[in-house]
């Protein structure tokens, strides 16, 4: 992959990874390991667990997500993450921005076709 493209995809992934985490948590509480695995499995995101955990910690420190320990029948208690109200508000704003950005991208493409 050319260097320009590689840098661009890295920047894109960095920006979008937080949105992915928040979206994953918007529907249900997620076990940290489970969340990481599911995000790593997303095609195109091309991320690693080693990147996701620090990001989760930063989001928690920012008050967007919260964690709680839940007893597990398979071993020690598991740490489950969920969105806080502040996280939901931020996610709504991020979604809105992302839709606007996506719409803008589509609009830019259609304007190009009209020409």
């Amino acid at each position: 992959m050319p260097e320009l493209l590689e840098n661009w995809t890295v920047q894109m992934r960095k920006g979008i990874l937080e949105l992915c985490i928040l979206r994953s948590l918007s529907q249900t509480n997620r076990y940290g390991y489970d969340l990481a695995k599911s995000l790593v499995a997303l095609p195109g995101l091309n991320t690693k667990e080693g990147t996701i955990y620090p990001l989760l910690s930063r989001l928690r420190a920012g008050g967007l997500v919260k964690s709680q320990l839940v007893e597990s029948p398979e071993g020690p208690a598991r740490k489950y993450y969920s969105l806080t109200q502040h996280g939901r508000d931020q996610l709504a704003l991020m979604n809105a921005f992302f839709q606007t950005l996506s719409q803008s991208l589509n609009d830019a493409e259609m304007k190009g076709e009209r020409k």
């Binding site: 940290g32 390991y33 667990e49 955990y53 620090p54 910690s57 928690r60 071993g75």
Partner: protein, 865 residues
């Protein structure tokens, strides 16, 4: 169940440690949370892979898939460049180590400024600084770093310790820099500063833990160092503050200092102050608190007594360094100069001076009920300086020194007896100025003498002295008497471990003692012997008493008088009862009285009902407004039981107040129950004034708990001592019982009469030893002295060769010295000796012949008539 191999565990922990270090640099990330998630993740991976045994490779495989980088984190540990490492090693490890070892070996700072490492605990404390720095450097250079919160804590602790010592050495930094600049040496005072900088520099290599945990361990280190320094220095600091307060001229502030020291003071620190000289403090805290100016030595000794109730020189001195070396211990220490040389105080112990032999020979004269003892001391000086031996010796009750000799070049020389001042001046001239061989004995209060001899040659030199003591027995009945052995109650020399006082007593009466080390036997001519070896502690006990049982009691004896037409008569009879109407019990509530309080309570039960009783304690006597009313024995018992005995109390105020209370009735008396009085605390002149102006009313009696120095007794005030023979309770009971009995205890009366007196009849009044005359003379001398006829008193002392309150005995080395001092040594043929068995037989025969001749002369006289 999944098993983790040791290597796998190590690999996991190393991985997590490196992640933690990397995360530490990232803002907004809780490293603990991430590490926790990573650990859980790896465990979940292991579970999902269904691994039975987890190997190092498994961990590596899993961690490699996590997408974390280890290169960045490892780089942290390689920041120590070779030059930095070398500098850190030199200044953070080597220089501080050399400083510590140098001080340990040469004590340069201790001798010149203060002792920075007075105990081995201090050595351990300061040694931890270079050790901690070395550990961090080693771990950093070798990259063999494990999670080591311990090192974080240790680094902080050593930083605090180094900082403390940097402050202490702050005043020496500038001179140190100047000497380095000009002379190229003097780095050692900067050791603590360099060590402190070293610990600060090492801290940057301890940045691996997350901030919160790092703070936690740092706090632990800080608290540990504070606790250790506090444990070692806090009591010293408090004691120094207490000493400064106690030194105040304001009584309230001084009392606050005393109370503080009694509660929190360190005895060791107070004892140090007793031996320090101005501007030679021996402790770091002392230096910081007092700006290098120590409390006055004498004041420190007084404070020590007031706080502890013990004389400072009765306690093993602390280990101190001075210019000439170290005070190792009481039995082997060095004092660079003897503060008491030639003086009248025994003062502190001096190093290297030992009493290596002590021999007590004696003869009890059956008819005269008296004894003559010769106590021979040999001193040994192992120090490198000439030394003076000084001792305060308590004589048997009523005893006087009647002979003094000194061995000069192997020959025993007799003393000159003269006025007290004259003998002391001669001693000081010869001993202190000329540094020749004299010995001096003067009295130091009733039944007490001060013996001093100088110079005992250095490096194993010896000096031998003999003191002759004439003493009456204390009679329970005409048949039974008791002799309390003399004892050393204060000394500036040490006793060798194997030292025993070797006793040999002989008499025509039977002799016995409660001391198991003394053995009675009967020799030729029915002469009884009491022989044995006594420890010094036994000598100081009430058991050091000899019971004398005489089968042939003589209540009246005679001996030739000073003039040929006179004889001295001695009669034994009951004394007059005291007839007391009020007894003021003055209790010294110093610390040492505590074990005797129950005995006082029991003894008080013997107080006759007719006597009014008041009880006053030393601590309460300071309150002049307090009123005292007569109380019953039961109330007195409750009061005495509630006494809190603490420190050393002001007994002069006690005696003044007790005297005033006793003076309120016509026949009041004071019984002063007290511990040893190593210091005069309180209004000395107020008491002296009362006792000098009114010596006979009210009377003051003193009963001392244990033998020891008594400065009040030394003042020759009219305080009569109650003789101690048995337990405290028994002696107290006996004294109280005879207070208002019909007759008082048996006592001797001695008088000079003309030979024509009908009482001077050899048939009814047998002739006996001339020691009777010496005892009569001693009484006569005190009478003359009390009438301020000092010349007559001194003349009689010199003639009878006695040491009294007005006279002393001194042995000088040469005739020239005697002549220059205007003194004449006594004729050896006139001195008392202990009769050899053969001599005794000869004396008996001579006395018999004399009696026969006189009888014949008398018979002839009547025949001629």
């Amino acid at each position: 169940m999944t098993q983790w191999s040791a290597e796998a565990k190590t690999e996991l922990e190393e991985f997590l440690l490196l992640q933690r270090n990397a995360l530490h640099a990232e803002s907004g990330v809780d490293a603990d949370e991430v590490i926790d998630n990573l650990r859980t993740h790896i465990q979940e991976e292991v579970r999902s892979r269904k691994l039975q045994v987890v190997t190092r490779e498994d961990v590596k495989t899993i961690t490699n898939g996590l997408g974390t980088s280890s290169d960045k984190t490892r780089s942290v540990w390689t920041q120590l460049s070779p030059l930095s490492g070398l500098m850190l090693t030199i200044f953070g490890v080597v220089l501080p180590t050399i400083s510590i070892l140098f001080e340990l070996w040469f004590h340069l700072c201790a001798r010149t400024f203060f002792d920075p490492i007075p105990t081995w605990w201090h050595v351990l404390l300061v040694s931890s600084v270079p050790v901690a720095n070395a550990m961090i450097i080693y771990r950093t250079k070798t990259k063999r770093f494990r999670p080591a919160p311990f090192l974080t804590a240790l680094n902080m602790a050593t930083m605090i310790i180094a900082f403390y010592y940097t402050i202490a050495f702050f005043v020496l930094l500038l001179p140190g820099m100047v000497t380095v600049f000009y002379f190229g040496f003097g780095l050692l005072p900067m050791g603590p500063l360099f060590a402190f900088i070293g610990t600060l520099y090492c801290r940057r290599f301890l940045s691996y833990p997350p901030l919160t945990r790092r703070y936690r361990w740092s706090l632990a280190g800080l608290l540990s160092a504070a606790a250790l320094l506090g444990a070692l220095e806090l009591s010293v600091i408090v004691s120094r503050i207490g000493l400064q307060l106690a030194d105040s001229k304001q009584p309230a502030v001084s009392q606050t200092g005393i109370e503080l020291l009694r509660t929190l003071g360190s005895e060791r620190t107070m004892l140090q102050a007793c031996y320090e000289r101005p501007r030679n403090v021996t402790n770091l805290a002392a230096l910081l608190l007092s700006n290098g100016k120590a409390i006055n030595q004498q004041k420190a000794r007084e404070v020590f007594y007031r706080v502890t109730g013990k004389p400072f020189n009765s306690v093993r001195p602390p280990r101190l360094y001075f210019t000439n070396g170290r005070w190792e211990a009481l039995d082997n220490m060095t004092w660079d100069f003897d503060e008491g040389l030639g003086g009248t105080a025994v003062a502190g112990r001096v190093g290297g001076l030992w009493l290596n032999s002590s021999r007590l020979d004696g003869h009890i004269f059956k008819r005269a009920h008296l004894g003559y003892l010769e106590w021979t001391f040999q001193f040994d000086n192992q120090s490198s300086m000439q030394r003076e031996a000084r001792a305060r010796i308590l004589l048997p009750p009523g005893g006087i020194v009647s002979r003094l000799t000194l061995w000069v070049n192997g020959e025993e020389r007799e003393a000159a007896f003269a006025g007290r001042q004259q003998t002391r001046e001669a001693y000081q001239e010869v001993a202190v100025r000329q540094r020749k061989d004299p010995v001096l004995v003067t009295t130091s209060g009733p039944d007490q003498i001060l013996m001093q001899c100088f110079p005992i040659p250095p490096d194993g030199g010896t000096m031998k002295v003999r003191i002759g003591i004439t003493t009456p027995l204390v009679m329970n009945s005409p048949l039974q008497g008791r002799l309390k052995l003399p004892r050393i109650i204060e000394r500036n020399f040490n006793l060798t471990a194997e030292l025993k006082h070797s006793l040999w007593l002989q008499s025509q009466s039977s002799l016995s003692s409660d001391l198991s080390t003394l053995h009675s036997s009967v020799g030729d001519e029915n002469e009884a012997k009491l022989i044995g070896q006594i420890d010094d502690s036994e000598m100081l006990s009430s058991d050091a008493t000899v019971e004398v049982l005489s089968p042939d009691p003589s209540v009246r004896v005679q001996t030739p008088g000073l003039d040929s037409d006179r004889a001295i008569l001695q009669e034994l009879g009951p004394s007059s009862p005291l007839n007391v109407d009020r007894l003021v019990l003055a209790v010294d509530d110093s610390k040492g009285i505590a074990p005797y309080l129950p005995e006082i309570v029991n003894g008080l039960k013997s107080l006759p009902d007719s006597i009014e009783l008041l009880v006053i304690t030393a601590s309460a006597s300071r309150d002049r407004q307090r009123e005292y009313l007569p109380i019953s024995v039961e109330e007195a018992a409750r009061h005495i039981n509630s006494i809190t005995a603490v420190g050393g109390q002001d007994n002069l105020s006690l005696l003044v107040r007790a005297w005033e209370l006793a003076a309120e009735t016509p026949s009041g008396a004071v019984l002063w129950i007290h511990c040893p009085q190593p210091l005069l605390i309180g209004p000395e002149q107020a008491l002296a004034q009362r006792l000098e102006r009114s010596p006979s009313r009210p009377r003051i009696f003193g009963i001392q708990t244990i033998d020891g120095p008594n400065r009040i007794r030394e003042k020759q005030l009219a305080i009569k001592s109650v003789s101690r023979f048995d337990t405290f309770e028994e002696d107290l009971t006996r004294w109280l019982e005879q207070l208002n009995s019909e007759t008082g205890p048996l006592r001797f009366t001695r008088q000079a009469v003309l030979k024509e007196d009908p009482l001077v009849d050899p048939e009814t009044t047998p002739e006996t030893t001339d020691h009777v005359r010496r005892l009569w003379a001693a009484e006569r001398i005190e009478l003359l002295a009390s009438k301020v006829d000092l010349d007559a008193a001194i003349r009689l002392s010199a003639r009878e060769q006695l040491v009294t309150s007005v006279s002393g005995a001194v042995v000088l080395e040469t005739k020239e010295q005697f002549d220059r001092a205007g003194l004449t040594p006594v004729n050896p043929s006139t001195v008392p000796v202990i009769p050899e068995p053969e001599t005794w037989l000869l004396m008996a025969l001579s006395l018999g012949a004399l009696w026969w001749l006189r009888r014949r002369q008398t018979a002839g006289h009547f025949c001629r008539r």
